[in-house]
Symmetry: C2
């Protein structure tokens, strides 16, 4: 609780979402003369850029999760509330959580995005995406279960389908997943089976555009594709997925239609904004783009509501170069910090110039020792890029929580090529099996044929 000098009640800032945008806003407000309430439906901040490492059995969820209360417990002006916002009342200046309402003077919405299937929601059960810890555990279960099923399968054709891994989407997440699965199959588990040869696993990376990592410079896309091929990944660009069902992925390449039998299909192709964007748009007449993002003003506020801000993946900020800023952590962090500064400036009856994103570059990791880094003024590939990637990720990861452990884990894995976190878990994994006598897929995906 904060007392203002002139005995006015303190300014209430409510932040919805504890991802990069929300958390950086809260941290930037830690010494401000305001009361901060951070609402999240999860009790931890998730370092999403490394989630693919959970999905592929290198590290544990807790290694990249920081309890929000622990991160913010020194911020005496900040209160963390675990709960889900159901609606926003911009006239009464309140957010609604079930029966409870929380009043705000300034509101920051930062609830991010989840994966999207471009209207083909029925694909989700066949091809899970990667946004939450549960998603990652589910991917991990499917990847490692597929090898187990192949080991037990005697029919060569069915076995091939278990040994085929299709990653849809050639952005950073898709590239990282495909590279990691190649390492699992061709290195980590090469001595682990007696009936199958994991070298026979096929890993396909499908991308609709004509190159992987489309946001990067073309020469880095080329380098990434070459590195992936060297790891054993089959990269197929200009390839559209037209259907996913019954363990068959149907693709279209030009006029050619092909069917790929595969039990494990991983989705890394698209995102849509959290439903809170639509709620806000309904309540304020703000505009949403096709991905559900709220179109924001140059100061990240909502048109007509200067005290409501949207940051991170939920925002469509197009005032810099005409197209929306990308949905990456640095954008969210800078936006969160900008809004925190703007709120403080306004309390001092000042204002700030419009938000401007400082692009410090893009990184994607391809495998152990290999990454591509595009810093604009310099482009790195290979080991040096991997090392830069590692350094930057560890730097940001340990910022809140001193996750020393991840560094040790990585060093260990690096030298041993070990993957100790390849557990097949989930309540369902312990309970029942499907008609093939194998563990069924996701807890919340009851109808899948895996």
């Amino acid at each position: 609780m904060v007392d203002t000098v002139d005995n006015q009640p303190p300014h209430n800032v409510v932040i919805v979402g504890g991802g990069f945008g929300g958390l950086y806003a809260a941290k930037a407000l830690s010494r401000a003369n305001v009361n901060v309430t951070l609402i999240d439906k999860r009790n931890f901040h998730l370092f999403q850029p490394l989630l693919y490492q959970v999905a592929t059995g290198t590290i544990s969820p807790a290694d990249i999760s920081s309890p929000l209360r622990a991160v913010l417990n020194k911020n005496k002006n900040t209160k963390v509330v675990l709960g889900e916002v159901n609606n926003i009342d911009p006239q009464a200046q309140k957010v609604i959580m079930g029966d409870e309402t929380i009043p705000y003077d300034s509101l920051i919405l930062a609830t991010g995005a989840k994966h999207s299937y471009f209207g083909k929601d029925e694909w989700e059960k066949h091809a899970p995406g990667l946004k939450t810890v549960e998603d990652a555990i589910e991917m991990r279960r499917r990847i490692f279960s597929a090898f187990e099923a192949a080991e037990r399968e005697t029919d060569p054709e069915k076995r091939r389908a278990w040994m085929t891994f299709v990653v849809v989407g050639g952005g950073p997440t898709g590239v990282e997943l495909a590279g990691a699965i190649a390492e699992i199959a061709y290195h980590t588990m090469k001595d682990d089976f007696r009936n199958i040869d994991t070298n026979e696993a096929q890993i396909l990376l499908l991308e609709g555009l004509d190159r992987v990592l489309p946001p990067f410079a073309p020469e880095l896309s080329q380098e990434a594709a070459t590195s992936l091929e060297r790891l054993g990944v089959t990269v197929q660009t200009s390839t559209l997925v037209t259907n996913i069902e019954n363990n068959i992925v149907t693709i279209k390449q030009g006029d050619t239609v092909k069917e790929i039998p595969a039990h494990t299909v991983l989705w890394a192709a698209g995102v849509k904004a959290s439903p809170l964007g639509k709620m806000l748009a309904d309540a304020t007449n703000a505009e949403c783009d096709r991905a559900g993002r709220v179109v924001v003003e140059p100061d990240l506020s909502v048109k007509g509501y200067p005290n409501i801000f949207v940051v991170g993946d939920l925002a469509n900020f197009s005032h810099q170069n005409g197209k929306p800023l990308p949905g990456v952590a640095p954008v969210a962090m800078q936006e969160g910090e900008y809004v925190a500064s703007l709120i403080q400036a306004r309390l001092n009856c000042k204002t700030l110039p419009q938000f401007k994103y400082k692009d410090r570059g893009s990184l994607a990791v391809i495998g152990q020792n290999r990454a591509v880094v595009d810093l604009g003024f310099i482009k790195l590939t290979g080991f040096l890029a991997w090392f830069a990637w590692l350094f930057i990720h560890i730097y940001f990861l340990i910022e809140f929580d001193n996750k020393l452990i991840v560094m040790v884990q990585w060093a260990w894995n690096y030298f041993t090529r070990n993957r100790g976190a390849r557990l097949i878990t989930g309540y369902e994994a312990t309970i029942a099996k499907d008609a093939d006598g194998f563990y069924p897929p996701a807890v919340n995906l009851p109808t899948v044929n895996v």
Copy 2:
């Protein structure tokens, strides 16, 4: 595959269960002239003695799990099969897994035990036990969710029920859980909340007998109780639980009946053997005791079936001092190794004296810095005991898998009193809430009122 010198087909050893008993048997057979098939329904060995640390947010499941294939991948005579044994045919010498049958010459059953509610199975949904990774994640979710619910609850009585933690059973697991929850409430999370004071949390440890840690010497039980009280745990011995429902635990102390309102009830009171014991008994006329354990011969074989062995928590071995050996890891490890030696001796037309358990002592940890160790010839308490406990657990933990990481994690936690793994996870945690507006309990426990 192993060729025998005289071109006989190699002897097939089938081991069911990859816990301490099964895994130590498999490892002891690594250079034997036999084919080993290890069947488990999970793809990892779980170091159960540290599972309470997962349940209380100190370490991650992968930190105490070793992929069975990785542990055994150097054993060229060993094959790991992921699957569940549904039946045993001792006449045909086969185990049955769905449509598949696996022939054996020697069979080792080591499927262990799970928690038991003494016929009150309806208590399970209110008071989860701690045997699997999923159990631990569920306990963790309940413990940390309870503090979150208390923070949001305004009614003081309801809040008290959220802040009351009841651990049923004063054996090592109960003592370890109660001590860890006290540290969470009174140390780890003391600065984390704004509405509640975590010092007001009540932690009750209930034990039916007249002292905690009944297998230990009475003076160590006394020391453990004193240490627990000092940590803030209320220890209630000679206390029987007569009912658990609607967030109320009913207890009986002599003639007095009391009701304790508590949302979080953790079960550490009893175990029953895996259902495979009953299957074997039905197939072989072997005797099962009340806990479902198979009564074994002095050489751990089943009466009338000298090539079927039962080891670990599934076995009732009473030939040493008249009562069954306890269900602890060292018993299972020694039994597994004994059976491996016996099988090899028999292949060389030799035999072995009957199994004899070498009791090297008992340990239980109470909190950071505090444990009790009973080595028979010496009894330790306090920091020295804690250090012995730590050393012994790390020694066995790193044996298979070089889990260096756990050591670093512990060192880190020790100095920071941090608990980074306190995630509230599970698909349900992300989906719906109960009537109280709070996250519902377990994924597979649909009817609980938490």
